[in-house]
């Protein structure tokens, strides 16, 4: 199982359609923070869209 990591998506990017047909979703509700498998196509697509890895927001509170 791939490691799950938190990403900060660029504000306003609520979906990314990935090459394999899957979709990455993000929400203003969660401040555009998402959690994905590091080795996944979704992670690659999110990083390509400008996402950056961040610490777990649950730990930051």
């Amino acid at each position: 199982m791939s490691e799950k990591v938190w990403l900060q998506m660029p504000a306003g990017v609520e979906r990314i359609d990935c090459p394999d047909g899957t979709v990455v979703y993000a929400s203003a509700r969660f401040h555009w923070k998402i959690r994905l498998d590091r080795d996944s196509v979704k992670h690659q697509a999110a990083m390509a869209a400008g996402a950056v890895e961040i610490e777990d927001p649950n730990e930051a509170s």
Partner: protein, 296 residues
């Protein structure tokens, strides 16, 4: 359609929802409704937390996708306090105690401006790290006939979740049961692979988001008069029948699948099921922000 009295314990005992603790008979109706406060501000994280909740529901007859892994149903009579509160709402969650990006779903008002500064709202389904706000499952950035929240109006609402496979769930929210025609509902066909699978630990939370400290408070901001939660997906026809009368279980499917419900509240701690399942919610509200008010 035959009616099944909430005090007809012998009938209800046969139901799949079952009893958690042996249960007494139904209590009929409570004298009051529950009043949940509004957000202090849209971005606030410091105000008190006040919810009613049932933790580890997966161990007591209500996993995230229902008792048979086929879905669940929630019906409620509520009023959003007028004017709308600023920011996000949380009026019904099946969720975990912290935000993990998965393993949750629910239905609430959602700010039209997609921000915790928003003061006007659409009805939404929340799941899959996203928000869906119309009958086509569009996100807030590209709405098509979203359903506007009219604060101050009493509404009976229906939320039906079905699961046909690990990668296929359909969540449908009718924010006004008096009109269930298209486009007057919100629907999300959740196809995220494995979403919510593996029988995660779940709590049913009404009143705020348990992860508020990491993001913002998302209070209920309104009145809850009555609710029925079923651990199976009802047909819309049966759900409409159940929605028309909180004083009874009106369908055989509903009587078989009732998990917990309330037909009014005598106090803020009157949280034992009105329909005889014996289950009780817990009030997590150390600052006593919840109160009772006149029934809707």
């Amino acid at each position: 359609m035959a009616g099944y009295s909430v005090s007809d314990e012998a009938f209800i005992r046969r139901g799949r929802g079952g009893f958690a603790g042996g249960g007494g008979g139904g209590v009929g109706s409570g004298s009051s409704a529950l009043l949940f406060p509004k957000n202090v501000s849209g971005s606030d994280t410091g105000a008190p937390y006040g919810v009613i909740e049932f933790q580890n529901s997966q161990s007591s007859g209500l996993p995230i996708w229902g008792a048979s892994n086929a879905g669940m149903t929630m019906i409620r009579k509520i009023k959003v306090t007028s004017p709308d509160q600023t920011g996000y709402y949380a009026q019904f969650w099946m969720a975990q105690g912290s935000f993990t990006g998965g393993n949750y779903h629910g239905c609430h008002p959602y700010p039209q401006n997609q921000s915790n500064s928003g003061t006007t709202h659409w009805w939404e389904i929340a799941c899959e790290s996203a928000d869906f706000i119309d009958f086509q499952g569009n996100q807030p950035g590209s709405p098509n006939n979203p359903q506007v929240v009219n604060a101050g109006s009493t509404l009976t609402q229906i939320y039906i979740v079905t699961r046909s496979g690990a990668n296929s769930k359909t969540l449908t929210f009718y924010p006004d049961a008096s009109d269930t025609s298209s486009p007057h509902f919100i629907q999300r066909n959740a196809t995220t692979a494995g979403y919510g699978e593996g029988n995660p630990s779940i709590r049913v939370v009404i009143g705020d988001s348990p992860w508020f400290a990491s993001f913002q408070h998302e209070r209920f901001g309104g009145t809850k008069d009555a609710i029925k939660i079923f651990n199976e997906p009802l047909t819309l026809s049966d759900a409409l029948s159940e929605a028309a009368n909180f004083g009874a279980l009106t369908t055989s499917a509903g009587a078989a699948a009732i998990w917990w419900g309330k037909n009014g509240f005598n106090t803020v701690d009157d949280l034992t099921c009105s329909y005889g399942t014996g289950r009780s919610f817990t009030r997590t509200d150390s600052s006593n922000v919840l109160s009772t008010t006149t029934r809707l």
